[in-house]
């Protein structure tokens, strides 16, 4: 039952894609045009036609993905075919060019296509690798539960702080304010922690970076070292352990966002470049027929 999109139907589409590539290569090798190989020969037209059709069909995945009541195959079957035939496109399109590249619209079209394919390959890799990592990182819970747990931890530490001098509550509240998970694309994808915290400083307070709750843990550590009151020392100890747990939960949350980010980000390249590709493809075809 466990079957990834690559294994779909005993890799039927892999076989079809290999056959398509083999056929193209054989035809290319046998073909002996008068002029150097290019898109203008009969084989060039054929390969070009197949390539353009493939691109349109590959793009149609975006439509099929949203045709929820379509009974035309399953999306998994479509994606499996999309991946293999998309890869075959490298061979088909490259042979179609006859290796005639230049600083022109035609080559731009080709390069855009390679971009889309490259991002697609990247996508398949993250689709195959990351779900497992995400599941392992979550270890049975989920982000909203983690968020709530963090909220609960905060409530708990604030209750402890209620029995302590005021600065503790202030710092914990400042920590809550300053905690960041994600935020920018860079922070999400890099799993970076841009949290800050307002710590008491000479003549007021000062915002300092607080990655991994380090600044807060430091500050609490310093308070602990300075404390002479047994009761207070015990409470600071409690706070330290709560903050350490909080740090671990935040780490998991950040890792989760990071993985989900990578699972999504490539589509932000794949799809817009596809649209650009379709545009240049039309221009390429039109120009070939007009200025031939």
């Amino acid at each position: 039952m466990h079957e990834s999109m690559l294994d779909y139907a005993q890799r039927r589409y892999l076989k079809i894609a290999i056959a398509l590539c083999a056929l193209s290569i054989v035809a290319y090798a046998w073909h002996d045009p008068l002029s150097p190989p290019n898109g203008g020969t009969w084989l060039g037209y054929t390969l070009g036609g197949i390539g353009a059709a493939l691109i349109l069909w590959l793009t149609a995945l975006g439509v099929r993905k949203r045709s929820y009541s379509s009974a035309l195959g399953t999306l998994r079957g479509w994606t499996s075919a999309h991946v293999y035939l998309g890869l075959a496109l490298i061979v088909v399109a490259t042979l179609h060019t006859g290796f005639q590249f230049g600083w022109n619209l035609h080559t731009l079209c080709y390069v855009l296509m390679l971009f889309v394919i490259g991002s697609g390959i990247f996508g398949v890799i993250v689709y195959l690798r990351y779900p497992q990592a995400m599941s392992a990182n979550r270890a049975g819970t989920k982000p909203d539960v983690l968020l709530e747990e963090i909220n609960d931890l905060d409530q708990r530490s604030l209750r402890v702080a209620n029995e302590m001098p005021r600065r503790f509550g202030d710092v914990l509240r400042a920590n809550r304010e300053g905690t960041r998970v994600g935020g920018s694309t860079r922070a999400i994808l890099g799993g970076l922690d841009f949290s800050t915290i307002n710590l008491p400083a000479a003549g007021g307070s000062q915002a300092v970076p607080n990655p991994e709750q380090a600044a807060l843990l430091d500050w609490l550590g310093a308070e602990l070292a300075r404390s002479t009151d047994g009761e207070l020392t015990k409470r600071i100890g409690d706070l330290l352990s709560v903050v350490a747990t909080r740090r671990n939960q935040l780490r998991r949350l950040r890792r989760d966002a990071q993985i989900r980010g990578w699972l999504e980000i490539w589509l932000y390249v794949h799809v817009p470049v596809t649209l650009a590709l379709i545009g240049t493809l039309i221009a390429h075809v039109v120009s070939v027929f007009l200025y031939w």
Binding site: E3, L75, P131, D144, G182, V271
Partner: protein, 829 residues
Amino acid sequence: MTTKVAIAVVGSGPGGLSAAARAAEVGVSHVLLEQTAAHSNTIQKYQKGKHVMAEPNILPLRSPMRFEAGTREKILGEWAEGLTEHKVNIRYGAEVVGISGAKGDFHLKLQDGSEVLAENVILGIGLQGNPRRLGVPGDGLPCVQYTLDDPDEYKDEVIVVVGAGDAAIENAVALAKQNTVYLVNRSGEFSRCKDGNLALILKTIEAGKVTCLYSTQCASLTETPGTVFSLASATAFSIGERPYLLALNTAAGDMQLPCNRIIARLGATPPRKFVESCGIKFPSNDPSSLPVLSTSYESNVPGIYVIGALGGYPLIKQAMNQGYEVVEFIRGNPVAPADEPLLAAKFAGIPGYRSVTETLQAMQQRIPLFTEVNPLMFRELLLGSTIHVLKPDAVVFKRNDYTNSFYTIFNGGVDIQIDDNNPAKRIPLLIGQFFGEMGLLSGRRRTATVLAGKDCVLIETPRRDALKLLSSVDAARAVLDQTFIVRAIQSGFAPQAKTADLLPIAAKSKLNRYKAGQVVFSEGDEADALHLVRSGSLAILHVVGSREIVTSYVAAGNYVGEMGLMGNTRRSATVRATVVTETISLDADAFAELLQKNPALRSELEDTVRQRIASNTRLQGQDNAGALISFLLKQGLGEATDVLLIDETLCVGCDNCERACAATHGGTSRLDRAAGPTFANVHVPTSCRHCEDPHCMKDCPPDAIRRSPNGEVFVGDNCIGCGNCERNCPYGVIQLAGPPPEQPSLASWLMFGSQKENVFGEVQGLGRKHHHHDHGHGAPKAMKKAVKCDMCKGQDGGPACVRACPTGAALRVSPEEFVTFVQQEASRF
């Protein structure tokens, strides 16, 4: 001394109101006694703005009171007007606590000690029962309430919630948002609530949002005298702010709790006890059984009439019609029931049809199973049933269809095809007999195809009505159970044998009922019987050290324990019910007789034994398989017929499955992918299990939840939004949803991901919360109806969620594939 009235109506629900209004309209002396301070308490308690439906639509209304579908407020308003318009003599705050006397001279005793005298009594007290009271001195103070309409109404109060069931938990959690909440739990834990609520309350308590007082009982309640100083509650209150003082006995000693409000959610005492104290008999101890009534709604006590929900009619319009009719009966003016034309239309196609009454009588005469049923209940049964007039060889149902009905033969006969490979082999059933009971009693697929014979007229009774019959008429239940056993033995072990030959064996076998988790037999026990699973399912496990390892699972329709009877005398494994389960057990004697009847049986059973041993050892080799099975059984797979699972090693979290569900179901997803537990990469999302014996179907007033022949459990359009199914489903997969949110614009449709937030818009700071599943979508409460997975019944290509998953992570698993699935998954973690 009060004067005697002709009719005393008890309870001002739709039934009672209608009766009293009719009496007033025709000038019969009457009194309408209502225990609460307003009419129609049940409807008053509906959610504000609820849209009340007027099901069944085809039934005409017959009442001086108006009623058509509309909001709760409109309907209550109209009834209030009706009360004035007809000058109904209604007494509020008049709880009847006892009825004595006889026809012509009844004494109705009220809570306040006064008495009402009446010639006839109409009981229309519904089924809601009376909320259990706190039962401590002071529980009459205005701060005690037994319901909670809108938790947001209260703010900054100290509120004590008493009780440990679902209602208490839900109230406590909801109130805790704006108030200081104490939860008083009589016992040391929460054992009477759904798993989801258990987790919720424990978390809320741990987070300090609700203070739970375990093993605590209320002692008394007083208004705060002047100043209170309370050490126990350790909270500083200014005087006057908490006007009441609740005394409690806790495990640690006595305690005084100043508070503003007490919400007691202690459940309700069903009205049955009161009804029985009036001398009215119930046919069986089954809590769902109904009092026996005549066709004029008269109970076994002459002069006491029962109408509405209490009499087994769970809808408003039915109750109102009966209120009208019963007054006419009492006036000696027999009217044909309002449903007469409906029955006439149903029966019209029967060859030789003359009248409704005659047809009903003929049915009861010809069909022994129905002979004992009281005519009123039989009428109701027929109203729910369908009459089929069939040509010879027409298919009634096919083998492996799922069941929701039960058939009786009114005329002609049918042929049962027990062997698909040999269609000529048929068992005939004749007039007066019944079939389809297998599915009725076990919720399983049909075991054979049934074809119509000559002159065939069948009565098809839906599951719910049939079960109602069984719970009220013991004789019918006994006949059905007996037949079930014979047929189960026949189809399981001796297809060749004649039914009559199997009767003695059936007589020796036993019907056993197990609670979820109960042990059927233990490893090492002496093997004395074989169990055929009739409903539910069993887990087979071994005890290794202190751990229990589940090695296999036996679905309904299969058997266990055969190894013992085949020679091994000790049980080699422990068998435990996974859900409420019924088995038929055959002892060694009966089994020996069976072997005689079917010599091939031994080798068949040996085959089964061999296969089971092979599968057990395969699973035993996999350490994790047992743990995974246990996990899945806990998620209800033991009673599932089809469940959606997500393979977390493949799921990329794109939520296309949910979007597909929403897009194919009017905009609301019935599936919550992210919710639900996960174990070892297998995630069980919140989505319907399509239970074998669906809990949700049990208590649906308009019978709107149905099961299609393919097994899907779905909600029909006639849902009235009462929320019973939502409460009854142990897996929390039914929601009451309003109209769907607006469709996204074309532009956002094309921009992928924008139909649902994506990760880049979602995590930022902690201030923002995940608002993933706002199913209500701010729609008015008024239009809410139950929605749930229907497995995309009626759509090509199967469930949309699976079809829309790009990665193959979403899969649907049925019990047959269950073990294979577990083996595969377990080999990978």
